[in-house]
Every structure is written in C-alpha cells, then in structure tokens.
C-alpha cells in the first residue's frame, strides 16, 4: 500500500488510533481459525461512525480492502486480513447504550463482550440466550456478523433470533439504520436477515439492537454417560421425538471428554464412549416433568451413569467445561481443526457414525463433540500443521464429512460461518444459483469489493477496475459527504 494512502488513513482515525508497526501487523494477522494468516498493512481503531465512513470512501477511491474485526475468535477466517487490507478493530466500542425494560430490548455497541452483556441484563431479570463457546471473549458485533449459535440454540435459537435492528456503515460509506423496537415491522425488505451472518462483507455495524426475554428461573442440569456411543445419539433423537425441548443437549465423545477432564479435573468418566450434558429450564413445573421424562428415556437407552447437578455453581462448572472442549482438544496435538457440519436432528446418530468412518478411512484422529440437540456437531481433527501429508488427509476427511452431511439433508456449517475456511464447499451446500445470487447481492452493495473481500464468495478479480456506472456512484457519495 502506498505511503500516501497510509497517511490518509492515519489522518482519518488520528495518530494514536493508527498502528502499522511490524508487531501490530503480526498480532492482527490471525483470528481463532487454524492455519490461516495474512499481514494487514495497518490496524486502526476508529472513534466514531464518520471515521468508518471516511475509511470506506477512501478504500473505494484508493482500492484497498477493509477487514472488520471484533475479538478475533472466529473459526472460519472471517476477520483474517486479506491482501492489501487494513484491519478495523471494534473492541473499544464496548458500551451498553440502553437496556429498555419496557420493551425488553438492549441497544449496544458492537464491541461489547457477549458474556458481559448477559451478566448486565441478567441483573434485571432478563435473558440474552445466544452463548457461543467463546462468549466470555467474543463480541456482539462478531456474533451478529457470523450469526453465532451456542449451547442453548436448541431451545432459544441463535443470534439472528435476537437481532431487532442495527445501525451500520455500508461498504460504500453511507450510514444506514435497519429495523427498530417494533415487534412487527414489514416496511420493505427484511434487510436484517441478510445483514446478520454476512460475515463483515456487507457493512460495519456501529450499533446493534437486541431482543431480550425473561430469564428462566428454574433449571436442571443432567450429565449422562454411555458405554456405547450410538446409545447417546439415539437418546438425543428419542428426547426430541418425545416433544421435549431441553435448553441444551450437548454431546462429547471419549477423546473430547478426556481432554476436557485433563483441563478441568471435574471428574468426568474417562472410560465411557460418550457423554451428554442436558439442561432443562423454564419457569414452572414443566422443568421437573420434562427432566423425569428425559431420565426415563436415558435409562431405556442403556445410560451407564446419570448425575444431576446439585447446585447452580456445579451446573455452571459443567457448562464451562463443555465450552472449553474445542481448545482443550489442542492438548493432544499442536493443531486442532474443527468443523461444524450440521444435519437434521433425527440424523445425529447416523452422522456420528459417519464421522467415525471418516477417521478410520483417512487414518486421522478426530475428537467429536457438539450441539447434538440441534444437529450441529463439531468433529475436530487433532493434527500438526507442520505435517503436510497428514493435513492433506485431514482435508479429505472433512470433504467426506461435508458430503455425508449434505446427503443427509444437512449443511457445511451450522454456526461458524463460511469465511475463507469453507468457501470451497459453499456451492455444494447452496447450489450454483444460490452462490450467484449471493454474489449479485455483494456486488450491488460493494461494487468495488472493498469490504472483507474473498470471504464467503470469490468475486472474479476485476483487471479493468470498477465499472463506470459504479464509479459514478462513488463520486456521488463523495459529493454527498
């Protein structure tokens, strides 16, 4: 990138919010995704939405890319810098602007940490359910961009179910407002559902309006072990079929359980083949009734050991342990590559089998865990990025898993996003026409492909520069400004 461009960028955000030392570039070259990295040209912390607009105007004019970033815990490469890019970090935008207890909404800045927001609303008896594994670190902005899920997705849904609206800067620099506090709102296109999960390719959020619900006052947390992994899958299918919706139904295989136990030392059964962590919650007698039914289903499916958490602290310990699963698997090998193939819930037992099959066909070590209750599994390869031959087999194993998931009516990613990591499989999941439609949307909104380019989609490189009509648009935006 030219020095003059970097100077202009520095001028926009101010000297003290601009960083381009080798150390800063290196430390923003990665996110939570294994094996992907790229140096940005600079890192900036914008102070207000006008500065973000100006950065985007400049990017369109000077043809560089902008990569938005929250805490950088993403798992599909969504916030990894692209070539000739600057990283726009939003972590300092971390205010809760309003909690509206009359309308049950929260207006927040995108850099607020999910777990902190949850604690704050819970003080008022309210609940923001989406709880990705990294919830104590990740930001709401990142959650909305990735449409993050979590353990409670089964009953409470995912991030998109709680987004009421947002304010954001478009790739061409204008600030727009989407949605609002209305429960019903059909004015024009339902834009928020395109923007949620757009992985930072359609805009940079500056404010986000979230829906809150009453906090479930009662809950019961059950852990159960199985000698045979298939019985765990069958239990999940049976519980769903019994028309019970636990708030959580998490699955851990033996490898995962052992790694989690190495880290937490909370006394998980190291010898059983699988374990489920189930939580039922609510506000009335249904909690007890549902857990009774669940217990009888578990017994029928040869559960070897059933435990009920005695205290909320103990329940929290179990859930925290489950949330550490992905990182805990890294105890075994230097590199852990996790995927989130997802299938309709009734197919979970089949999918568990297929993942085992992939491990044996391609001779790779796979730890499996995930949100069994919503069909979202996280087969994780334990490997070493320095061993290219093995990495090759890992990729083949994942290809096999993705294909099997799609055959079962599933999808390539449930909650981590497409980003760079799963872009190659997108067409197999949504079809050629589906990909084309997405490209059209992206190009209509971001004609110069400056905002997080190359994520989700590959737009053909344009040798001749931007098309005239679009260039007109850009100059118009400038005069506008």
């Amino acid at each position: 990138m030219q020095n003059s461009t970097l100077n202009s960028i520095r001028k926009i955000v101010g000297r003290e919010h601009y960083f381009d030392s080798p150390e800063d570039r290196v430390s923003y070259s990665y996110d939570g995704t294994p094996m992907l990295q790229q140096l940005p040209e600079a890192v900036v912390f914008p102070q207000n939405s006008e500065q973000i607009s100006e950065l985007l105007f400049l990017a369109n004019k000077e043809k560089f890319s902008i990569v938005p970033r929250g805490a950088g815990t993403g798992l599909s490469g969504g916030s990894i810098p692209t070539e000739n890019s600057i990283v726009v970090v939003m972590t300092k935008w971390n205010e809760i602007l309003e909690i509206d207890t009359a309308n049950l909404t929260a207006l927040v800045e995108p850099g607020i940490v999910t777990g902190i927001l949850q604690k704050e609303v819970e003080k008022l008896g309210l609940f923001y359910p989406p709880d990705p594994g990294s919830m104590n670190v990740c930001t709401i902005g990142g959650n909305v961009a990735e449409n993050a899920g979590g353990l409670r997705g089964l009953k409470y849904g995912v991030t998109k179910n709680y987004v009421l609206g947002m304010e954001m800067v478009l790739p061409t620099g204008e600030l727009i407002k989407i949605g609002g506090k209305n429960v019903k709102d059909v004015a024009g296109y339902n834009l928020k559902d395109i923007v949620v999960g757009s992985e930072g390719t359609l805009g940079i959020y500056t404010k986000i309006l979230l829906k809150l619900i009453p906090f479930p006052t009662l809950s019961k947390t059950i852990t159960v072990n199985f000698k045979n992994i298939l019985d765990s899958g069958k239990s999940v299918a049976d519980i769903i079929a019994a028309q019970i919706t636990p708030s959580m139904m998490e699955f851990l295989d033996n490898t995962t359980m052992n790694c989690v136990e190495d880290y937490t030392k909370i006394g998980l059964d190291r010898h059983s083949e699988a374990m489920l962590l189930i939580e039922v919650d609510g506000r009335g007698s249904s909690v007890d009734e549902d857990s009774e039914t669940i217990l009888s289903i578990l017994k029928k499916n040869n559960a070897s050991e059933i435990k009920i958490a005695d205290t909320p602290a103990q329940a929290l310990l179990l859930k925290t342990a489950r949330r550490s699963a992905f990182s805990a698997l890294a105890r075994r090998k230097p590199t852990t590559i996790l995927e989130d193939a997802t299938v309709p819930r009734s197919e979970v037992p089949v999918m568990i089998e297929k993942i085992k099959e992939a491990a044996s066909i391609f001779n790779v070590s796979i730890g499996n865990f995930g949100h069994a209750g919503d069909g979202n599994l996280h087969p994780t390869c334990l490997t070493d990025e320095r061993d290219s031959e093995e990495i090759n087999r890992v990729h083949k194993a994942f290809e096999f898993i993705f294909n099997e998931a799609i055959k079962l009516g599933g999808t390539i990613t449930g909650e981590h996003g497409t980003g760079l990591a799963k872009k190659g499989f997108l067409e197999s999941a949504v079809g050629k026409e589906g990909v084309e439609f997405m490209k059209k949307i992206k190009l209509a909104v971001d004609p110069n492909n400056v905002l997080n380019p190359g994520k989700i989609l590959t737009i053909a490189p344009r040798c001749e520069g931007a098309l005239p009509s679009r260039r007109d648009q850009i100059s118009e935006f400038h005069s506008h400004h």
Partner: protein, 436 residues
C-alpha cells in the same frame, strides 16, 4: 535483520517450536488478561505475545524495543494459563523472551538493566546485603529523614511520581524473622510432621511477623520445624525478570542446603517463592547432577495453606467476629492452582463472616517488582482491585503473598479505605490465641 548474536540467543533461550505451536490462538485467554483489558490491543494479550515470540523465533520479526516493551508490560500473573484449555505454557515463553531481551540490545537502557541486575543479583540474592539495605531503610523509615525526602520529591513536578514509588517500599520490620526464629523449633506435644521452612527474602525483612506467625501455627499443629540459616533467595524474582542463569545458581544452592536435612514438607508462606520452588523440578530436568535432587525437593514444597488445609486442625479455634474477604495471589491460584485450601481454612475459623471478592483472581498489580518497574500500569490495575475491595465492605482482606500484601496495603492507604490486610496464617494465629 536479526544478528548472528541474537540468533544464538533465541536458539539458546526460547522454547522449541513444539511449545510455541501449542497455542492455537483461540483467544480464550483475552478476557482474563489485565494488560489486554487495559489496551484492547492484541499485542498486549497472551496469544498476541505468543505470536510475537513465535515470529521472532522463526526469524520473521526482529527483536525490537516494542517487542521488549510488550514482554515487560506483561505482569506474568499467568491468569491466561488458568484460562487456557489447551494447557499452553505462556509463563515459560514470556520469561524466556525476557531472558533474550536482557542479553540483547533492545528494551530498557543499559544503565537501567544494570541497576536491575545489581539489585537482583547483588542485593536480593545476597541476603546479608538485603538485610543491610533493610536496616538502612528501617532507619530511614523511622527518622525524620523520610519526611524530608518525601517532601523534597513532592516539591518538584519531575520527581512527584517517586513519592508514590517511595511509599511502595515495604515497611521494614524491627527484627528480621531469621533472627527471631530458632534453627530448630519444637511443638509442645510430640511432633507429627517434620517441616522445613523457607523464610523468603521479603517476608524475612519486611513481614517478619508473618514468618513468626507461621512458625507458631505450625507448632500448634504438632510440627517440628527446621529453618536452615544458610538458605538463599529462591530465585523467582530473577527468573521472572530475565535472569534465569542467576535463578538457577540460587536454586542449586537451596537444593544443596535443604538436602542436608530430613523433612516431610517444605513450607513456604510466599506464593511467589512456593510457585518457583515447585518449578525446580522442571528447571533441572536435564541436569544430570540436580535432576533427582530437584524432583525430591519440589515434590515436598507446599504452600502453608495447602499444608494446613490437608491436615486435621489439632488445636481448638476461637471465634473471631470479623468480616473478611479473600484475594487470590496470582502465584497461588494461577501458578499453584491453590484456591480452595485458603478458603477452607477461613471457613474453619468460627465467627468469621466471609464475603466474596469480585474478580478475586485478578492481579493486584504487585507482580514481583512490576509495581516499581512499570509503576503507572500497576496503578491502573490496582485501581480495579481497590474498587472491588471497597464493594465487599470487609474489615480484613486476607491473602497469601508478601507482594500482594504490600501492594494492597499501599492501595488501601492511597484510597483512604479502612481495611486491614492480613496473611491467611496470621488470621489463623489470631484465632488460635484468642480466648473466649
């Protein structure tokens, strides 16, 4: 470009690629890191620093002043190690990076490095000189001299910050504990346990009472105690500040000293010292002469709270009508994973009202000599601790490390709180001695 000399340094001191690759940069450490919380910059986070160290080790990044600054900005509180599900040994990496920095041209000016080296190697490591310095300090603190100097410093804007640093110097005890405690101490009843006691350097000169309390409590719990007069500094301050060779030299001396005695457990009441003495086994794992000795030694090191919580309290305790809260010293909770034991001991004392301290495992900013070397950053971290302490409304804050005790006392005074700071063992002693 990295010079050949630097390359040799990196190869000699930095951990190998297997250790560096263990970090998967998932970011679970970010929320627990006091310096990342302060700056929100990746390079001030554990995974950011690991990435920097890895890049330096791979020759992709030069050793620079900014690199040195980040490594020294780290408190080495190791909260990230507690948070890391993958078991990444972050402390080791940062400490080794500091060794490289100490030997290289980057980082603090040569004169500052020399002063630090002199203080650590020629004062702390030579206990008689530390005692001498402490004597001078005691004199200074107990004559009008102190007032004159402080007033002088406060007068000039340029020297005002030294007033704060000055007030951080621990109040020196009138008698050092090594003078009061006999080399061998015996309980009234026949001894159940044979204990070796590590006095610690700072505890000995600044918190002599705590050492005396420790001996008293041990004696009431049927321990006979040997306190070797020729023991030396454990070396932890040196290891945390890039002087690993000196740390090893001190460690060897202690291994030689303590191996001459027979004992069941070696008790420390300084979390930092205990943590490092438990590390000796790893420090010498490839040393043919000391490996076995170090293993035998480290396996028997116990923090005082760890030891007391695991034996039957043999003396009846009397009620203390106090409201107390507990601050986890980093080197107890993160390095030694001791969190439950001191709380169990508090619960054994009748009458105590124990209140929870928010973020009790968050560093207080003391961090060895960090509150002196990185004074301004330490002040910000202290602010947060004081705010949480204030909310407890406790009469006493209990903790298990001299560094924390000094820092908390300083903070409480600075903010005008009325709260006592006490070592766990002192509170236990109070309960043992009181009559209803």
């Amino acid at each position: 470009m990295i010079s050949t000399k630097d390359k040799a340094l990196l190869k000699k001191y930095l951990p190998n690629d297997d250790v560096l690759t263990q970090c998967m940069h998932c970011g679970m450490c970010l929320a627990t890191c006091p310096t990342y919380e302060m700056t929100k910059m990746e390079r001030s986070s554990p995974r950011g620093r690991i990435k920097l160290i890895k890049s330096v080790a791979e020759g992709k990044l030069d050793l620079s002043n900014l690199f040195a600054e980040e490594m020294n900005f780290c408190l080495d509180c190791q909260a990230c190690e507690t948070a890391c599900p993958a078991g990444v040994q972050y402390g080791k990496m940062v400490e080794s990076a500091r060794v490289v920095i100490e030997h290289s041209k980057v980082g603090a000016s040569k004169i500052n490095k020399l002063i630090k080296k002199f203080m650590l190697n020629s004062v702390v490591a030579k206990h008689y000189r530390l005692k001498l310095l402490a004597r001078v300090l005691y004199f200074y603190q107990n004559t009008p001299l102190r007032k004159w100097i402080v007033n002088g410093l406060a007068f000039f804007p340029a020297t005002q910050k030294y007033v704060e640093i000055e007030s951080l110097t621990p109040t020196i005890s009138k008698h050092f504990s090594s003078k009061i405690i006999a080399e061998k101490e015996y309980p009234e009843k026949p001894a159940k346990y044979k204990i070796a006691f590590s006095t610690g350097c700072i505890m000995d000169v600044a918190f002599a009472d705590i050492n005396v309390d420790t001996i008293e409590v041990l004696k009431k719990n049927e321990c006979e105690i040997i306190t070797p007069k020729d023991q030396v500094c454990c070396g932890s301050l040196h290891a945390h500040n890039g002087q690993i060779d000196k740390a090893k030299k001190l460690a060897k001396k202690n291994l030689d000293v303590f191996s001459k005695h027979e004992y069941d457990f070696l008790i420390s009441n300084s979390a930092g010292c205990g943590a490092f003495m438990k590390e000796y086994v790893h420090l010498f794992k490839d040393d043919p002469k000391y490996a076995e000795k170090a293993k035998l030694f480290s396996n028997r090191v116990k923090d005082i709270s760890e030891f007391l919580a695991n034996i039957e309290p043999s003396t009846p305790m009397f009620a203390l009508k106090e409201k107390v809260t507990y601050h986890d010293a980093c080197h107890l909770c993160h390095s030694q994973k001791i969190t439950e034991e001191p709380r169990k001991l508090l619960r054994q004392i009748p009458g105590l009202e124990i209140v929870n301290l928010e973020e009790s495992q968050w560093c207080c900013g003391s961090a060895g000599i960090y509150n002196v070397t990185q004074h301004e950053d330490a002040e910000k971290i202290l602010d947060r601790k004081i705010k949480n302490l204030k909310e407890t409304g406790a009469d006493i804050v209990v903790t298990g490390n001299p560094g924390c005790i000094g820092q908390l006392k300083y903070g409480i005074k600075k903010y005008g709180l009325s709260m006592e700071v006490m070592h766990t063992v002192t509170l236990i002693k109070k309960s043992l001695n009181l009559k209803n």
